[in-house]
């Protein structure tokens, strides 16, 4: 099988000269087009490092990442990133934050009016049309993250990379954004890699969950398929046996087999 996105034998060692610390070792993962994959693991297991390698923001010391058989060696809009802390530019309005990305990606292929429409379309998709003239400091944390998602979607990426996109939000906001993301995902069918440490979020949103062992020298421990039909409803799944089973599998991996390093003391 020739995968859409292929992570092959990726390893990374920080400080290779002074005090080499292997962060990731031998990570192999193949992701099909349109698949939603979550990466879950305890803090410090190198989840974000792995995402940054796929994004091209970090270079692996071993192995490589291939997207449509092309080696990934630099960041680019075909692998748009939704950053954990939204990373909106505070001097640009909500609209201009998305528009900057649209201009950069489609500046040569689409006309002025078309780019304007596309910017509005993506802001509408995340439910932010009402605040396009506001500055990031004037909207809530959840709204900032929505704009961050709109910016990433507007790049029409081949792979959408999300680094704990809802980690900084309160539970209610998080649920609303998860629902919004699921809605978008049913229509767009993006290929997504999402980092999370929230078990429910992983099961609810993913087609597959990649579970990482603890660092240093972390690697993929297990991969779990989530055989739930799409167009999932949060409430329907509450009593679903498959859902409960998947959830249990992830919990057992995280807390029975790969307890966090400092958990023994607690």
């Amino acid at each position: 099988m020739s995968a859409y996105l292929s992570i092959e034998g990726v390893g990374i060692t920080f400080n290779p000269r002074k005090s080499p610390t292997p962060a990731l070792v031998g990570v192999d993962l193949k992701i099909a087009k349109g698949e939603f994959v979550s990466i879950i693991g305890h803090s410090g297991c190198g989840k974000s490092t792995l995402l940054n390698i796929v994004a091209g923001l970090l270079k692996p010391t071993l192995g490589g990442v291939f997207l449509e058989r092309q080696l990934v060696d630099a960041p680019g809009p075909d692998r748009a990133v939704v950053f954990q802390n939204h990373s909106l530019l505070p001097w640009l309005t909500v609209y201009d934050n998305v528009r900057l990305a649209v201009n950069k990606v489609f500046g040569k292929t689409r006309g002025e009016a078309e780019r304007h429409e596309w910017t509005l379309h993506n802001l509408n998709l995340v439910g932010m049309s009402h605040a396009i003239a506001k500055y990031p400091s004037e909207v809530s944390g959840g709204m900032k993250q929505r704009v961050g998602i709109a910016r990433a979607l507007a790049m029409e990426p081949k792979v959408l990379l999300m680094d704990e996109p809802f980690g900084a939000l309160d539970a209610l906001n998080r649920a609303r954004l998860q629902d919004a993301l699921m809605g978008i995902q049913t229509t767009l069918r993006n290929t997504v890699i999402m980092i999370t440490h929230d078990v429910d979020e992983a099961v609810l949103l993913s087609d597959r969950i990649v579970m990482m062992t603890n660092g240093p020298a972390a690697t993929i421990g297990e991969v779990l398929d989530i055989p739930l039909d799409r167009a999932r409803k949060r409430l329907d799944l509450a009593d679903d046996t498959t859902y409960a089973h998947c959830r249990g599998e992830v919990l057992r991996f995280l807390y029975a087999r790969h307890r966090p390093a400092d958990a023994d003391a607690a």
Partner: protein, 291 residues
């Protein structure tokens, strides 16, 4: 009939005396409330002013020694400010022109410093090599009183005006360079990552990330510079002579017009405040972090 209409509680005299808050505040009471809020902002400075004036008065009447009285100074101030625009040749010009000449030198030196300092600050912030090469020199030169450069300026330019401007240039450039480079260094890594994902080229990077992210720091540096420059120009003009508020002070000292000097001190202070307020307005307009 004992039933009282529920939605008219303010009609009874009871509630009027017990809970005055429930009454819709009249215009007069609102004014009074507002007055009480701003009163400390006015009353306290006025008290301070009166104390200072009293001390001044005591010194002037008891110690003497040429310190002019309050009345004398006030008359001199009225005299100077009633005809600020007169111009009878270079040796007799109104206080407005004196201030304007000084401001002109400050602005010239400050603008030059900004033109040189901002790019140098950007270089220092973005290139470790440049920073390592230049930082020690700047660290040595920064604490030097800018007036020490005046002889060098006189030697270089053989004229007083460019020399004074040169001194202001030296004064202004250090805060601008240091704040600009600190601003570039402080750009969050997230913004760089955004730029990397968007594949911004060098020019786009400067325009969309570097300049707007650094602008608050640059403006802070400029505000500091301008404040110091206005202080230094008075001293520089005392040494160089010519037209200007600094030389005006020195000239009046030579004429033993101490009351004029006190008036000039107050004018210098007021102009300094106006300059700072101006920079503050610019900061509020352009600084995204103050929106």
């Amino acid at each position: 009939m004992t039933s009282v209409p529920v939605d008219e509680p303010t009609n009874t005299s009871m509630s009027q005396t017990e809970s005055p808050i429930a009454i819709a505040p009249s215009a007069a009471s609102r004014l009074r409330e507002r007055l009480f809020q701003v009163l400390p902002d006015i009353v306290l400075p006025v008290i301070t002013l009166l104390v200072v004036l009293l001390v001044w008065h005591l010194i002037a009447t008891n110690l003497g020694g040429g310190i002019p009285g309050i009345g004398e100074t006030w008359e001199r101030g009225v005299e100077l400010l009633s005809d600020p625009f007169h111009s009878n040749g270079p040796n007799d010009m109104g206080i407005f022109w004196q201030v304007l000449y000084s401001l002109g030198r400050v602005m010239a030196g400050f603008t030059l410093a900004a033109l040189v300092g901002v790019p140098v600050g950007f270089l220092m912030g973005s290139s470790a090599i440049f920073r390592k090469g230049w930082a020690p020199l700047i660290q040595i030169l920064r604490p030097v009183s800018p007036l020490a450069w005046l002889p060098i300026g006189l030697l270089l330019f053989r004229a007083v005006d460019p020399s004074a401007i040169f001194v202001i240039f030296i004064t202004s450039i250090w805060p601008i360079i240091l704040n600009t480079s600190a601003g570039v260094v402080a750009i969050p890594n997230d913004y760089r990552n955004v730029a990397a994902v968007l594949r911004l080229n060098r020019i786009e990077m400067v325009r969309h990330i570097l300049l707007p992210a650094t602008l608050p720091h640059v403006l802070t540096g400029m505000r500091l510079s301008l404040g110091i420059a206005w202080m230094v120009i008075v001293a520089a003009e005392m040494l160089t002579g010519g037209i200007g508020i600094g030389f005006f002070v020195w000239d009046e000292w030579n004429n033993l017009n101490v009351s004029s000097i006190i008036v000039a001190i107050i004018i210098i202070g007021v102009v300094g405040i106006i300059l700072d307020l101006g920079m503050n307005m610019i900061q509020r307009r352009f600084d995204h972090s103050q929106r």
